[in-house]
Amino acid sequence: MNDMRIAERDVETNESKISARKVQVYYGTNHALKDVDVDILDKTVTAFIGPSGCGKSTFLRCLNRMNDTVASARVEGTIKLDGENIYDAKVDPVQLRAKVGMVFQKPNPFPKSIYDNIAYGPKIHGLTRSKSELDGIVETSLKKAALWNEVKDRLDSPGTGLSGGQQQRLCIARAIATQPEVLLMDEPCSALDPIATAQVEELIDELRSQFSVVIVTHSMQQAARVSQRTAFFHLGNLVEYGETGQIFTNPKDPRTESYITGRIG
């Protein structure tokens, strides 16, 4: 693992943004996630790693209640965002998802123009009062997603016409446009080529200054490159959670060591 350059690990804050306690997820009778306790820090990139089916994506989808859209899924335990339990009856999952944005595995631009893709979130949440304000949000979101220079002359062309890497950055820009506090990314680079992956990873590092980013990845190199904190999931359990450098160089649990050295997975 010589190519793993462990990035600077200076976490700027130790303030907890999301804290999950005793989270259980069931799909029908299948107990998919068992007793997960995690504190996700503000303005930090947290990586979830683990073999397929280990529950990392399931846990990610708990953080913005996307599991609500799966009829058979049942979630127990508490997940607090800024001290408020997001599974409380008083919380509107729709409002929650505006605060906790999500980027998916496969780029999924809407069959609309690039502009309308970005403007979608601000429009439905009524974030702007004028067209020029909306134009401003579209521009800053695209700039933050490092896509502005490539698309600024064709904002009216369809988002589906972009390349895979551009589409994924468009989806990130779309998520940024609603001004979320946390950004969840479910294997955002698995459908991209290495160059597009590098661009998205660079972007993730820049986004850290504004939000807390949680990324699920199959690539341990990627986790090592972009994250400050890493959580290792195995068979529905959170095995180990800690500082990325420590997880990759000095894991405490033998299972973590087996996984990162390639013996299980």
């Binding site: 996307m66 009829a71 729709v94 944005g101 809407f110 979130g121 998520a175």
Partner: protein, 486 residues
Amino acid sequence: MSVFWTILIVLALAALGYILGRQKALNSVGGDSRRMHSLPRYYGWNVAIFTMVPAFLVLIAWMFAQAEYVERHVTSMIEPADIGEGSNLSLVMADVRRLASGLETAISTGAMTADQVMALDASKDDIRGMLGKVGVAFGSDVTPHILAAAQNYREIVSAASVYRAIAVLAVALIGFAYAYAQTNGSFWARNRVEQVTLGLLILCSMIAIATTVGIILSMVFETGHFFGQYSWTEFFFGTTWSPNFHGNSQLGMLPLLWGTLYVSAIALAVAVPIGLFAAIYMSEYASPRFRSIAKPAIEVLAGIPTIVYGLFALITVGPLLRDWLAQPLGLGNSGSSVMTAGLVMGVMIIPFVSSLSDDIINAVPQSLRDGSLGLGATPSETIRQVVLPAALPGIVGAVLLAASRAIGETMIVVLGAGAAAKLSLNPFEAMTTITVKIVSQLTGDTDFAAPETLVAFALGLTLFVITLGLNILALYIVRKYREQYE
């Protein structure tokens, strides 16, 4: 030998060919099927195909040629004097054919021998009485020429059937021998069989296309006759429809076209919102269990015969609309109205809209919904702003297909909207459509030379062009939509 037995013998030969061909191929490699080019059954099929296919092609060709030949030959024996007042050649030929088949029946039931039949003389024997005994009723007495023609007809047909059987069986045997001689383990039987299968697939698609072309041609032909007798400007732009079987008809199609479009528009106004909203509910909100019950239940509507809808319109909807809407509002007191037919037809085409739209909405990738929900949109916002725009071209296609169904509908209109051709805006007045008038022009005692009858073909062709246009538009839109994802 009858066609049935010929076919049966050819099939038996083919079955024998399958067994022998397979066996010969296996024997040629000493029973080790791994050393053969193809699987053993392909060698069997190769022989069977060569036995059957050419023989059946010859049989089909022979039957067409025979009919044509006999008709020509026998027609030349009929003289103008045999064709009576008010009759024509095709009626006389029909008599000849019936007489010939009566004679054939007499022979096969043993009432007469073939020689006796040839010796019949119209002036002496009571042919009508004899045929009556074997169960063939004949309207008039048989003239000598017709009897001679019929005797000749019977003779040619019975001789031809023998030659036909010989020819077909010979072709089958030649095919059998050729393919059997070819058969050995290194022959590429699989490729040959697959080629023949490919040919069969092409043939089937050609038949579908040829039927469409045939329908169009027959319509165009008769329409041409119509426009030879009636001015096309008056047909397309005339505003009065009053056919009169004594001539001097006014055959303007505009009232019919108006009625068609009016009824269809009302039907679509009923079916599109209901069908679309039902589709949205079923694909986006309903539980799988509800959907599995409701979707087939809605599709039942499409299976109800249109005559039943027509009765519903006539007995229930029509009087209801008249008593509760038309009369109180002073819009008329007709039980049959455009509104009645339109409403009932709308119910009929709901499943076309809902079922197709449901499939199309389901085909919108889940990732788009997730994307929208993940941005904090409600399910309703997601449907309105992401799912429906993505599905819109497909939904438009579904609506156009439903529209062409509505335009072609007949029974509901006959019973629901009446048969009066009128140009009016009042939806509570009786009107009629193109299809209804096609039916009424062709029913009863019709003269296929008069414009009053031929107009039906012109109307049919117009209707065909309208619905074909709508279908092409729908297919074009649906296809364009398909290209949008993946």
